[in-house]
């Protein structure tokens, strides 16, 4: 292939073009790079394995904090935990009593305070894997076989040793998680919240404003990262939100919060004006009303993975109206409610 002289020329053109390309951009700032470099220097100068120390400290922190989860009264799990303890007695010499926080299984977790977070390793000191989804509903399989469906722009970040023993990751954006069952808690942290589970499925959205959790199966421990360390145990169908550093149960969450993942939209006497922004966001097209008299009309029904023309057809029919597409925008017409 590469012997053909004709073929060579494409590479030649590209090489010439790329040879002195410079791309401008702001980040990363020099100070950030210098800072990381100096930290690295200081660590090697200090001559002790800072990385290892940090990982050990972090594991202890997570283990003690999450011991609660192991010991939640769940018969099967408890038996396993006891058996493991018998087989592998803790060697008293290796772990000093200061490292173990004695904890009654029924008292809630110790809240994470700002100071404690310092024990979590500096993200630049450990090899990390970051994945950012460029498409909606991207199916991403984690090394422990858990699956997360990532919305466009959502990201997961975890350490290189993520696996059966370490199941913690950092998250931003919207994702639907299906966690592989295991005794090792799966821990998701965002800037605002910490979620700990064993084997469940749930939707987590973390954006500029708030974190929102909707549990679709199993049980989830949802914790506020800031100050109070307030936490909620959520079960199937429960939803909670962290906003303005407060954690609150959400009584009537919108069932279409999961539509980005399922493609299913459910409506029950929902005003048209509330439906259109949701559908518009999902199908990526602007949808407007020609006549505002239909805005307050309501619609009931379910769309299961329909394409936009079908959806519009059904809505228009319910309004005795029509729909049209002009210059890429959808316009809904109608005279009033049925």
């Amino acid at each position: 292939m590469s012997q053909n002289p004709k073929n060579k020329s494409l590479e030649e053109v590209l090489r010439k073009k790329f040879d002195s390309v410079e791309l401008d951009g702001e980040r990363p700032s020099f100070d950030k790079v210098l800072n990381s470099f100096q930290k690295l220097e200081a660590q090697s100068a200090a001559g002790f394995n800072f990385k290892l120390w940090l990982s050990v400290a972090a594991s202890f922190l997570l283990l003690t904090i999450l011991s609660y989860l192991f010991l939640v009264p769940d018969e099967k799990q408890q038996v396993v935990a006891v058996d493991t303890l018998k087989e592998l007695p803790v060697k008293p010499k290796e772990i000093s009593s200061d490292d173990i926080v004695q904890q009654d299984p029924f008292t809630p977790l110790v809240p994470i305070k700002e100071n404690d977070r310092n024990l979590i390793p500096d993200p630049h000191s450990i090899e990390q894997i970051t994945f950012i989804s460029a498409e909606r509903n991207y199916r991403y399989q984690l090394p422990d076989n858990s699956i997360v469906f990532l919305d466009e722009g959502a990201s997961v970040k975890y350490e290189a040793d993520f696996g059966r023993k370490n199941r913690s990751l950092q998250f931003a954006g919207t994702g639907y998680f299906q966690i592989e069952k295991s005794n090792v808690p799966f821990v998701i942290t965002t800037d605002r919240s910490m979620t700990a589970v064993k084997g469940t499925s749930f939707n987590l959205r973390s954006d500029e404003l708030a974190d929102e959790m909707i549990v679709t199966s199993g049980r989830v421990l949802f914790t506020l990262v800031k100050d109070t360390g307030q936490q909620l145990v959520l079960e199937k169908g429960n939803a909670a939100r962290v906003i303005n550093e407060e954690l609150k149960l959400v009584e009537d969450h919108n069932p279409n919060d999961l539509s980005w993942h399922t493609g299913v939209f459910k409506y029950k006497t929902t005003p048209i004006e509330k439906m259109l922004p949701e559908l518009s966001a999902f199908y990526g097209k602007e949808i407007s009303m020609e006549n505002s008299s239909i805005a307050a009309c309501t619609f009931s029904g379910t769309f299961r993975n329909l394409d936009l023309p079908k959806v519009m057809q059904v809505i228009a029919a319910s309004l005795n109206g029509h729909w049209k597409e002009e210059e890429g925008k959808i316009i809904l017409t109608g005279t009033g409610c049925n």
Partner: protein, 184 residues
């Protein structure tokens, strides 16, 4: 400020902040362009650039002065990108496009006319494995043997991936011309 590359290197070896900053600003845009040829994600590029320069500063004492400083930094940058690729590569989906016999000469002409930014975007559309091989062999000028070693694949699969990468690229370039013409 630094009349010769040697002075700049010496300043960096002394860990002189100004020298380091000068080197950083001088080579950052070029390294950014390289990173963008290998990965599509802006955040990844930022991380890769940061890692590249941390490595440059911590290994500057090993730079002997033989060969250009830029070439040396470029190599560190490409290595950083490839290391990152290895860490993530189990999640790649290699979905080759249908193979076709597009006329190559036309494509060369299209490539000539297309801006570098667009070309980077087009290369970014190649499946990740193909993109790595094509960048290393086609642009960086590594041999198949070297590329195979770096990517931890066999030499023959480097060759076959390369030829498939070219075919895909030719398709993408033809499609690009079609799109830009239909826009007019």
């Amino acid at each position: 400020m630094y009349t010769t590359e040697q002075e700049l290197v010496l300043a960096c070896k002394r860990k002189d902040r100004k020298g380091m900053q000068f080197l950083y600003q001088k080579f950052l845009p070029k390294m950014r362009a390289i990173c963008f040829r290998y990965t599509r994600s802006l955040v990844e590029v930022e991380d890769l650039l940061q890692e590249t320069f941390i490595k440059v500063f911590s290994r500057i004492h090993t730079f002997s002065g033989e060969g250009s400083l830029e070439g040396w930094i470029r190599k560190i940058c490409v290595n950083t990108v490839i290391n990152h690729y290895h860490k993530n590569c189990k999640f790649n989906n290699h979905i080759p496009l249908e193979e076709t016999d597009d006329n190559e000469l036309d494509v060369v002409e299209i490539a000539e006319r297309t801006s570098v930014e667009e070309l980077i975007k087009i290369i970014g559309q190649l499946p990740e494995g193909y993109r790595m091989v094509f960048n290393l062999v086609g642009i960086e000028g590594y041999s198949h043997k070297e590329a195979a070693e770096i990517l931890k694949i066999s030499e023959s699969s480097s060759r076959s991936q390369y030829s498939r990468a070219r075919k895909n690229l030719i398709q993408l370039l033809s499609a690009y011309q079609y799109e830009s013409e239909s826009e007019k």
